[in-house]
Amino acid sequence: MSTRVTTGMLSQRVLADLHRVNERMVRSQTQISSGKAIQRPSDDPFGTSRAMVLRENLDGVEQFQRNVEDARGWQDAAESAMTRMSDAVQRTRELVIQGSNGSADQSARDAIAQEIDELAESLKEFANASYKDQYIFGGVRTDAPPYGQTPAGDVSQAQPGPVARQIGPGVSVAINVDLGAVLGNGAGDDRLLHVLRDIATHLRTGDGAALRTTDLERLDAGFATLLDARALNGARSNRLDAALGRLAELEEASIAQLSATEDVDIAEALIGFSSQQAAYQAALKAGANIVQSSLMDFLR
């Protein structure tokens, strides 16, 4: 079909073409200046959804990192408290050997018993360690110290139960150790406090045989439970370190993917922009020539 091109059509078409090129230029310009390929969901619905997932992941990773840092602070506090408990138990052992020795007289044994009582109190003091205002050996009762500071306070107030931190998507890890199973309630359970109180009694009563045999064995057994608790804590620290490493990798990967999804490829965008500019200038030039010329210019 041969088209009869009229004057109105010409100017309309020139304007429509200019408008189209202009629109593309504005879009490129926005992308370049914002650095984002996706301004609104309709620019790329699938990409938007993907970017939202990645952004969410990234936000989660940052929170998990904070959680892991918090868990590590907690475990460091527990480790240092348990280290000092170990020292105290070691010291107790030395004193038991010293006191069970026949060469020590009763007054010396009384002095030793006195020191053992002090050590028992310090064990409880270490067990009352706190991190960020939370008693770390209180089980889920983190708002009250597990032990009182008199022999009457030997009964553990701890409420056994897990205190956990989320360290990954759907992954949480318990961070507290049950120290009640190590220190006990001071009587009737053969745990460390009970053993220490017994030792003090045996020293005062001069029961050297009990000191030399059962007390030492019970002390060693109690010490073993403390070491087990430390080992558990240490293993968890390793797990937290590993989690931190994994989170760092996840963060890096998420950032890279997010950037690939929603950031604009500047080089590509600039090249596109330049060619659009060239097209715009060409359209302007051609349009100006077409719209201006008319048969009237040539008729006399």
């Binding site: 088209t3 009869r4 091109v5 009229t6 004057t7 109105g8 059509m9 309309q12 078409r13 429509a16 996706i38 609104r40 969901p41 309709s42 620019d43 790329d44 619905p45 699938f46 938007t48 959804s49 970017a51 939202m52 997932v53 952004r55 969410e56 992941n57 936000d59 989660g60 929170q63 904070r66 959680n67 918090d70 960020k132 205002d133 939370q134 008693y135 209180g138 089980g139 889920v140 009762r141 983190t142 708002d143 009250a144 409420q159 139960g161 897990p162 205190v163 956990a164 931190r165 989320q166 998507p169 759907g170 949480s172 507290n176 929603e262 008319s294 048969l295 009237m296 008729l299």
Partner: protein, 441 residues
């Protein structure tokens, strides 16, 4: 009977007059080159009825001697079929461009992707639960959680408010266009008035070209607002059906508007699809209610295992009514009630990225994005088709100034030649009248 000596003068006169009329038409076309809806006109010339030379004459008996030219009609150059096509496309373009406009506003209201959208607020809400899990007895963390819960509610409410605004404004525009005294009404009234005027001319045997143009332009405008169908009536009048209105809105000289519409197509159709029950805004609202409902359900179920509901909502209007129902003291971190028990807070934090909450919101955003994108594509398609039909119509009916310039020259020359023919006759008669029989004077 011989042929009159003055015969040729009359023939030339007809030529002069006809060329002059044609020049007038070109002048009219040029003057209206930029008038919207104008169709170019042309003077239709035809040879006037020939003079049959009688049998008794000396020469050329029975021959048909030309008598010159007559302008029999001023024709309006227009293709009615292209008008039909154009109006169908104009209705579609009216629909698609209005839809695209309205959905754009919904998309902007979502403010995604950004730091302020619902997605970011939800992420911050899960963060706040994690912080409570890390320090369950810390009142600052609990207060921050309650605040963040309310902020999530505010974000939902803001988006719902924007959606309602879009619907309200669409409804308002619809009423302004389709109501009594609105644009449809005005166009219908002018069309009825034009019908009456046109019928007077047509019954007198005239062809009111410029009134036809004006009427066609009005029908074009109407077709952008809704589907239009035109039926010819008597005396050049037309009957116009609009959208799915039961009665024709213009019938000869009478107007029947407003009438109820259900699916009018065109701009009105798109506006209606936004605010009508079950329309876009209501669907989006329901989707958001679903997301908010999923959030409330999941959080409250966990929270109830150790206390009261965390969120309070009005059923059926979840998104707009979402708010936190507990005080910071009332936030339940663990079911046992011990200060360090964070089991519930941990479970809450694990809801992050949940398919029924964050996932549902994400698919909602993607759905809006897809629909807006489709609307843009449809609009571009409709625009291209409408431009193409309009181009073809322009190609037939539009004024080409170059063409009119060459016509001017053509008819000017025709006029000059006719007057030259008349001068020649005049000189011939001069010889006959003033010089014949004056031998020797």
């Amino acid at each position: 009977m011989p042929i009159s000596s003055f015969y040729g003068l009359q023939t030339s006169l007809r030529g002069l007059l006809a060329q002059q009329r044609a020049l007038d038409v070109s002048g009219h076309n040029i003057a209206n080159a930029n008038t919207p809806g104008f169709s170019r006109q042309e003077a239709l010339m035809t040879a006037s009825p020939a003079y049959v030379v009688p049998a008794a004459t000396a020469t050329g008996a029975g021959a048909h001697l030309g008598t010159g030219v007559d302008v029999i009609q001023y024709r309006r150059v227009r293709d009615q079929f292209l008008d039909l096509q154009y109006r169908a496309q104009a209705s579609r373009l009216g629909y698609e461009s209005a839809r695209s406009e309205q959905l754009d506003r919904v998309e902007v209201a979502l403010a995604e992707p950004s730091e302020n959208g619902i997605a970011s607020q939800l992420a911050a809400f899960w963060d706040a639960w994690s912080d409570v899990a890390n320090a369950p007895q810390d009142m600052a963390a609990r207060t921050a959680l309650v605040e963040q819960g309310n902020t999530v509610g505010e974000s939902f409410k803001t988006v719902i408010g924007q959606l309602e605004l879009v619907a309200a404004q669409a409804s308002e525009e619809y009423t302004r266009l389709a109501g009594a005294g609105g644009e449809v009404d005005m166009i219908a009234r002018e069309l009825a008035a034009l019908n009456t005027t046109i019928s007077k001319f047509v019954s007198a045997g005239d062809s009111p070209n410029d009134l036809y143009d004006r009427r066609d332009l009005l029908v074009d405008q109407l077709s952008k607002l809704g589907r239009v169908s035109v039926t010819d009536s008597t005396d050049g009048m037309i009957e116009i059906a609009f959208g799915d209105a039961a009665e024709p809105i213009v019938s000869d000289g009478t107007v029947n508007w407003p009438q109820p519409l259900a699916d009018p197509d065109g701009r009105l159709g798109a506006l209606r699809d936004v605010f009508k029950p079950g329309g876009s805004v209501e669907q989006y609202r329901e989707a958001l209610d679903g997301v908010a409902g999923g959030l409330v359900e999941a959080v409250n179920t966990l929270h109830r295992s150790g206390g009261a509901d965390f969120f309070a909502v009005t059923p059926g209007d979840e998104a707009a009514s979402l708010r936190v129902a507990v005080t910071p003291q009332g936030v339940v971190a663990g079911a046992s009630g011990f200060a360090g028990d964070n089991a519930i807070a941990l479970e809450m934090a694990k809801l992050r990225g949940n398919a029924g909450i964050d996932g549902a919101y994400r698919s909602f955003v993607a759905r809006v994005g897809t629909e807006v994108r489709q609307a843009h594509t449809q609009e571009a398609n409709a625009q291209a088709l409408s431009d193409a039909v309009d181009g073809r119509r322009q190609s037939i009916s539009g004024v080409s100034l170059d063409e009119e310039m060459s016509n001017l020259i053509r008819f000017q020359r025709g006029y000059q030649a006719s007057s030259r023919a008349m001068s020649t006759m005049d000189e011939m008669l001069d010889v006959l009248i003033n010089r014949t029989g004056r031998v020797g004077l």
